[in-house]
């Protein structure tokens, strides 16, 4: 009996020891992963890059590099939404290798989010006190949502006078919360456009209604073009998609541009979509042959259906959509990007701005390391170009013609000048977005346009007031 007890005790000890050994091994493995320069190859590259870096630094990057002197060893996490190739691990690994070549003691672990579940993942992490250190997204999340809730770090020290003088004013105001604090440091921007199937438009003799060179058209010509394409036999010309919030900037821009309506006031404190212009625009869209209010598809579906030829035009479009779909061989016709139609042919396009924000996790070393990372990615003269190019969008300051020789990007560059007000920072944005596509669904089912729009504005403004 005693012998069995001794044996049992011995076996228990062995099991405990083996567990402890496993634990030790795991933590060791973690440490290995956490090593900022695990690959010898990277280390050998680093000095070479390091010698290059100081030589290339301009005045701007000297200031940008200031935190480098104080950069301490730290492990930081970057969660990135799929902003162009910033959602591609192969590309991001390369960008981080560049960073580690200059800052070998800061280790960056990346997690890739998507727009379907990304918000939920971050919100869950916030509630579990596991928020990432860095996140790459736009002001509607970084500033209007997490910033307004006091979760983000003030990035005032990155927003130096020089940075303010370089970064476009419209971008600056979007990165600042209503409390005047900068919660985002921007990297890239784009103007969302629409696109048409040029082959079908040509066959329908509808190209006469648009200006191919400037990519613009008037509201009157838009109506004529849609009618021509419809009469040609393409009964599904386009869709006001509204099954969810995906790609809703397209439907907002379409409605706002047709008769010059606005979505919010200039101060971004109130929703103004119930203007006569917007009501008129929605009534026009509802009455047009070939334009379907479709509550079964969202922006992503619309893009797919445009690429496969179901629709002759897409309202959810930009340079990256074309690049990605061309690369994947999804398009077998000529795409013509267009600005949204407006009465005077001077559109106000909905912009997209993406940049970095830092979650305040209470660790000064990590916050400093995160700032160093942002500074390197967005301000280092050589790296900033690479970082922006990885997004397939345009820089938020003058970096020269970074897409020289790239025909597609040059074609889309003409739309950046039409970028309108970045209003997505109004309070209650999440609820307003939902109310928007619910309103489109109501109109699609035959509800009175004015009543539906008034209901939308009431809901959205109540959310904006509650957010204050």
């Amino acid at each position: 009996m005693k012998k069995r007890k001794v044996m049992a005790l011995a076996l228990s000890c062995v099991m405990v020891c083996s567990l402890a050994a496993c634990g030790g091994k795991d933590s060791g493995a973690d440490q290995t992963t956490a090593d900022p320069a695990p690959a010898p190859a990277e280390k050998t590259e680093a000095p070479a890059e390091k010698t290059e870096a100081p030589a290339e630094k301009t005045e701007a990057s000297t200031e940008a590099a200031a935190p480098a002197d104080t950069a301490q060893a730290a492990d930081i996490t970057l969660w990135t939404y799929p902003v162009g190739k910033w959602g591609d691990s192969a590309v991001v690994d390369g960008l981080i290798a560049n960073f580690n070549a200059v800052y070998p003691d800061i280790h960056v672990t990346v997690e890739y989010l998507d727009y379907t579940n990304g918000d939920d993942q971050i919100n869950t992490a916030i509630e579990g006190k596991q928020a990432p250190d860095l996140v790459l997204e736009g002001p509607e999340r970084l500033v209007a949502n997490w910033g307004a809730k006091g979760l983000m770090v003030d990035l005032a020290d990155l927003w130096t006078d020089e940075a303010k003088s370089l970064i476009y004013d419209s971008v600056q105001s979007a990165c600042k919360g209503s409390d005047g604090v900068f919660y985002e440091y921007p990297l890239c921007m784009t103007a969302h456009t629409m696109a048409i199937n040029r082959d079908i438009f040509e066959a329908a003799d509808a190209l006469q209604y648009l200006d191919e060179e400037t990519g613009t058209w008037t509201t009157e010509n838009f109506q004529k073009a849609v009618q021509a394409v419809y009469d040609y036999g393409q009964t599904n010309v386009g869709a006001v998609y509204c099954s969810g919030q995906g790609g809703d900037q397209g439907t907002r821009a379409l409605v706002n541009n047709l008769y010059g309506g606005t979505f919010t006031n200039a101060e971004h404190t109130e929703y103004t979509a119930n203007s006569e212009e917007n009501v008129k625009a929605l009534e026009l869209l509802k009455s047009m042959d070939g334009i379907n209010f479709d509550a079964s598809i969202a922006g992503g579906d619309e893009v797919n259906m445009f690429c496969n030829g179901t629709f002759a035009m897409a309202f959810c479009w930009n340079a990256t959509q074309e690049k990605n779909n061309q690369d994947q061989g999804n398009i077998n016709f000529e795409v013509l990007p267009m600005a949204f139609p407006s009465e005077d042919g001077r559109p106000q396009l909905c912009g997209g701005i993406w940049g970095f924000g830092i979650f305040d996790n209470g660790d000064a070393a990590k916050i400093q390391a995160a700032k160093t990372f942002i500074d390197f990615m967005a301000n280092d003269e050589k790296q900033a170009v690479e970082s922006v190019k990885a997004s397939n969008f345009w820089p938020v300051k003058d970096l020269g013609d970074i897409y020289a020789g790239d025909e597609l990007m040059t074609e889309y560059a003409k739309f950046v000048e039409y970028m309108g007000d970045y209003y997505q920072v109004v309070g209650g944005w999440a609820e307003a977005r939902t109310a928007w596509w619910n309103m489109l669904q109501q109109i699609g089912s035959g509800a009175d346009v004015k009543t539906a729009v008034e209901e939308f504005v009431t809901t959205a403004n109540a959310a904006a007031t509650a957010a204050q």
Binding site: K149, A295, M305
Partner: protein, 300 residues
């Protein structure tokens, strides 16, 4: 003396066995307490607060519950959820019982093949299921519209998921395909366990097939039926993934369910207290219905 010694020995043995029993239960108990009981208590507790992200919770008593029953979207979601349960539970039970009674006495491989076919949607991920159904229901090139228009059943394409007249029905149809797998497997197993001697005796006494089924088999598979009723009811009440992936509650809130509305309030609007209040109401409804189902099947 010997008696006393024997009694103390047995007491010690009982104590040791009790301790061992609890020790074996401990891991599950800890799991149950940590992942079921604690969240339940927390859910009820939070439902009395105005709770949101990164702000101190504010005690508001029953205000969330009062708001719930004045919230038209919640009441609509409740109605949709009840419709899903009322349609889906009986149809799932009847259909799976019918399929099981047809296939349970087939030769081994044939029965297994049918079980696999019906169980496949259960083990397929919700996203994959949703993608396939979304394609089939597509307004422009979906297979249902293709078959419908080419056979003359429908005049023009129907926007199945985009029309409030059809959307909820489509969701229920998809839910049925993912719900019948488990009941079929359970019923096949239960029917195979029915005492054949009773069936044979009844047949000898002249009972018809229907009488054999109703008087003998049905009675013997009643515990399985009860289990199936309860789990199907709970699953139907918790219908969420299909809604999120296919309709986001639309069009015009016609496919909103309580689970989806909880998600929307808690994760999109950060109204944790309000979401929890809905969770409590949903839990009470499910508990009441399950109790009724237990009572009804017990009385039989």
């Amino acid at each position: 003396m010997a008696k006393n010694s024997g009694s103390s020995m047995s007491k010690a043995l009982v104590r040791r066995e009790t301790i061992a029993g609890y020790a074996f239960m401990l891991p599950s108990l800890l799991f149950f307490l940590g992942f079921v009981i604690y969240p339940m208590v927390q859910c009820v507790f939070t439902s009395f607060f105005d709770a949101t992200m990164n702000r101190e919770d504010i005690f508001i008593g029953f205000a969330n519950y009062v708001e719930l029953f004045q919230d038209k979207v919640f009441l609509g979601a409740l109605k949709n959820t009840v419709i899903i349960v009322v349609v889906s539970v009986p149809v799932t039970c009847i259909f799976s019982l019918w399929v099981s009674s047809v296939i349970y006495d087939l030769a081994g491989p044939a029965c297994s093949a049918f079980r696999c076919i019906f169980y496949l949607p259960v083990v397929t991920g919700s996203v994959a299921v949703a993608v396939v159904w979304k394609w089939m229901f597509n307004n422009y090139y979906g297979i249902f519209n293709y078959i419908g228009t080419s056979t003359g059943l429908i005049e023009k394409n129907i926007n199945w998921l985009g029309d409030e007249k059809f959307a909820l029905g489509c969701i229920i149809l998809i839910l049925l395909t993912t719900s019948v797998g488990q009941p079929i497997v359970l019923y096949v197993s239960a029917l195979n366990n029915v005492d054949q001697s009773l069936v044979e005796a009844a047949e000898v006494d002249g009972a018809t097939k229907f009488q054999c089924f109703w008087k003998i088999k049905w009675a013997q598979i009643m515990p399985t039926t009860l289990y199936i009723l309860v789990i199907t009811t709970i699953n139907s009440f918790q219908c969420f993934a299909l809604i999120q992936l296919l309709t986001s509650g639309g069009p015009n809130h016609s496919t909103d369910t309580i689970m989806y509305y909880i998600y929307y309030n808690a994760f999109k609007l950060y109204r944790y207290g309000y979401g929890n209040a809905m969770g409590v109401v949903l839990a009470i409804i499910i508990a009441l219905l399950s109790a009724v189902q237990f009572k009804m099947t017990e009385s039989k």
